[in-house]
């Protein structure tokens, strides 16, 4: 019996038992769609987190204060006020820290900003001229403040795109005056939009010289974060060591384990986030794989039932001259066609889901082609491997006992 004939017989049997075939296909279909969606979800989350982290700026080190302790209650990381603008200036020294290219301390507070008749409450960030370099940001219009303006405590401000919009300040608003409390500031630039990172809108902020901020608005010389930019990826490690040593020495700490600050790198944040996402993807894919396995066992179950139910047919085919191998091939073809149909329909459903679902839930689902191709292959393999046992049983039936069964 030729392959074409075997295929034809298999298809006839599948179409002849529509409900049973549909249920078998459904089992595999769900498994495959689940694999594609979960892998896509995992990959989508990983890539969106990674791009957000990359947006922090490249070759970045982030220095945050240690934890504060008040009356025996330990605050969290960054709650202390041990980092100052002076620390940032020390870290800028090319002599002490040759591998640190740029330093941007940020002193952050929340305040209400007014512009004409409009007002908006947002983050007020005092920083230095190096901020755009360190954070890989560009300006949509105008200029950022210069080192000289920082030194002179110049009354100038740069707005995030969202903030500018909320205050009704368009592209031609350069030179307008905005007020924070009773400190008037001249608008000199608006940042290009960036998007959000981990719930923080990177476009909603007011940037002003840290010197002015600390003297007029914050009234303190502490900073929440110091961003350091290394010369290159390869000198990031050296920059890390230099920054640690410099801060330990200026803070007069001799035991590194008692440091009152923490330095993390963008790479380490990314690695952590990636490993979390990988774990999540693995977990989801594991669950999906189990559902695929269940689908496969479903195929075997239905094929076995089918062998029992179709003993007469098997007996008849044998009486008419089918050899055991022809019967085995027929059942194998049936099982693998069902598997393949499940695989193709399941991937279509998965792909459709990957295209449609992001419109309803706020996550991206990546279309992972290896998962699509792989799951179709797996579905075919499931059909074949879980079909072997039923097919062998069918082939072993003697025509007589098969014909006799009711």
């Amino acid at each position: 019996m030729s392959l074409v004939e075997t295929l034809r017989s298999g298809l006839e049997a599948i179409l002849g038992h529509r409900l049973r075939s549909a249920l078998t296909v459904l089992g595999i279909l769900i498994g495959i769609a689940a694999v594609i969606l979960t892998v896509g979800l995992g990959e989508g989350a990983t890539s969106s987190v990674n791009s957000a982290i990359a947006n922090l700026g490249t070759n970045l080190l982030i220095v945050t204060p240690g934890s504060s302790s008040s009356g025996g209650i330990q605050g969290g990381f960054g709650s202390d006020t041990t980092l100052t603008y002076a620390d940032a200036k020390d870290l800028s020294s090319r002599i002490d820290c040759p591998d640190i290219d740029a330093v941007a301390p940020t002193a952050t507070t929340v305040a209400n900003v007014t512009a004409g008749t409009k007002n908006w409450t947002t983050l007020i960030i005092g920083t230095t001229a190096a901020w755009p370099t360190v954070r890989s940001r560009t300006l949509a219009v105008g200029t950022f403040f210069s080192a000289a303006q920082v030194k002179d405590q110049a009354g100038v401000a740069v707005l995030g795109a969202t903030t500018a919009e909320k205050l009704g300040l368009g592209a031609n608003a350069i030179g307008e005056t905005i007020d924070i409390g009773n400190v008037p500031l001249t608008l000199i630039g608006v940042l290009a939009p960036q998007g959000s990172l981990g719930g923080t809108n990177e476009d909603d902020m007011v940037l002003l010289p840290i010197t002015l901020d600390q003297s007029q608005i914050q009234g303190s010389d502490s900073v929440q974060t110091i961003f350091l930019k290394a010369d290159s990826q390869s000198t990031l490690g050296a920059a890390y060591t230099e920054a640690t040593d410099e801060l330990l020495s200026v803070h007069q700490i001799t035991t590194p384990s008692k440091a009152d600050f923490t330095i993390t790198s963008q790479a380490s944040i990314e690695a952590t986030a990636t490993s979390v996402d990988k774990t999540l993807t693995l977990l989801l894919a594991g669950i999906a794989a189990i559902s695929l396995l269940v689908g496969g066992i479903g195929v075997m179950n239905i094929m076995l039932v089918s062998v029992t139910e179709r003993r007469r047919e098997i007996g008849l085919r044998k009486a008419l001259g089918a050899t055991p191998s022809a019967i085995r091939r027929q059942f194998l073809v049936e099982a693998s066609v069902l598997g393949l149909a499940g695989g193709i329909l399941g991937s279509s459903l998965g792909l459709l889901g990957a295209l449609i679902l992001p419109h309803f839930i706020s996550t991206t689902i990546a279309i992972v082609w290896w998962a699509v191709a792989g799951s179709i292959g797996v579905a075919l393999a499931i059909g074949l491997s879980f079909g072997v046992y039923p097919a062998t049983r069918a082939a072993r039936l003697t025509p007589m006992e098969a014909l006799r069964s009711e």
Binding site: M1, E12, L316, A319, L320, G321, S325, T398, M400, L403
Partner: protein
């Protein structure tokens, strides 16, 4: 109805007849005795073993059926007639004894060889019709040709021709459940004929039919006989058996009697 000489069937597998060149002589109406034997059973025993219990279904059956004969095998249930039918149909091996089908010893063949013998030599008609419900009448009739490796176009032609022989050419695309019981059994007869078998084996073919459909199917078998085909009819019913030319009566695994019916020997 076309007369199909036996030779046309034998050309499918010349190796099976090489030992008996005499079979290739032109066939035609002959007297019993000088025709070549289609079936030659010698001292056939069949024992079924189920755990500690063993049943002797056949206890030494010897039977010769010549080309062109119409033989009924009759017996009550438990007489061994089903077992005999299975052995005749190469569906089962005898425990001992020899079976020559068209001159070839089939008692020691393996499963693959037997499948080939069934495919080329034997046309089955069953009590339950055994048509595949998912397939059209035509596809059902084609099945033996599929396993014989006949190409698609020829299969279709031969299936239609075979259906025409049972007056069902106009029902070729109907599914079995769209046909009456009698029509279904006629489709089964068409399927049994499509491979031009040496031997047509009908196992209680009228058991599931009303009397008029039964007469119809028996008439069809008689017609096959008249056209020169060898037909073996297994039944428990004396009246049905009397359609045949010769009646072999089985009892307790032995042949009790073997005699010609009133119209035995004649072909009309």
């Amino acid at each position: 109805m076309a007369h199909v000489p036996l030779e046309s069937a034998q050309t499918h597998s010349p190796e099976l007849v090489s030992e008996h060149p005499s079979e290739r002589e032109p066939s035609g109406p002959r007297e019993r005795g000088d025709a070549s034997p289609i079936v030659e059973l010698v001292d056939i025993h069949k024992r079924y073993q189920t755990g500690a219990l063993s049943v002797d279904a056949l206890r030494g059956v010897s039977l010769r059926i010549d080309e062109g004969e119409f033989v009924a095998i009759i017996g009550p249930s438990g007489s061994g007639k089903s077992t005999l039918m299975h052995i005749l149909g190469c569906l089962d091996h005898p425990s001992s004894g020899s079976y020559h089908l068209a001159g070839v010893d089939v008692s020691h063949m393996d499963e693959v060889q037997l499948a080939d013998v069934r495919n080329r030599r034997i046309g089955f008609v069953f009590q339950q019709f055994n048509l595949l419900g998912a397939l059209s009448a035509c596809r059902n009739v084609e099945l033996p040709l599929v396993y014989a490796g006949v190409d698609r176009r020829e299969r279709k032609q031969r299936a239609i021709a075979s259906l025409a022989r049972v007056d069902l050419a106009n029902r070729s695309e109907h599914r079995p459940n769209e046909l009456s019981g009698g029509q279904q059994q006629r489709v089964a007869v068409a399927r049994a004929l499509v491979n031009e078998p040496t031997l047509v084996l009908a196992d209680e073919p009228t058991g599931n039919l009303d009397s008029s459909s039964a007469a119809d199917v028996l008439g069809l078998l008689s017609e096959l006989h008249r056209s020169g085909r060898t037909v073996v009819l297994i039944t428990h019913d004396t009246q049905t058996a009397n359609t045949a030319q010769r009646v072999v009566r089985l009892r307790d695994g032995l042949i009790q009697s073997d005699e010609a019916t009133p119209h035995g020997g004649s072909r009309s």
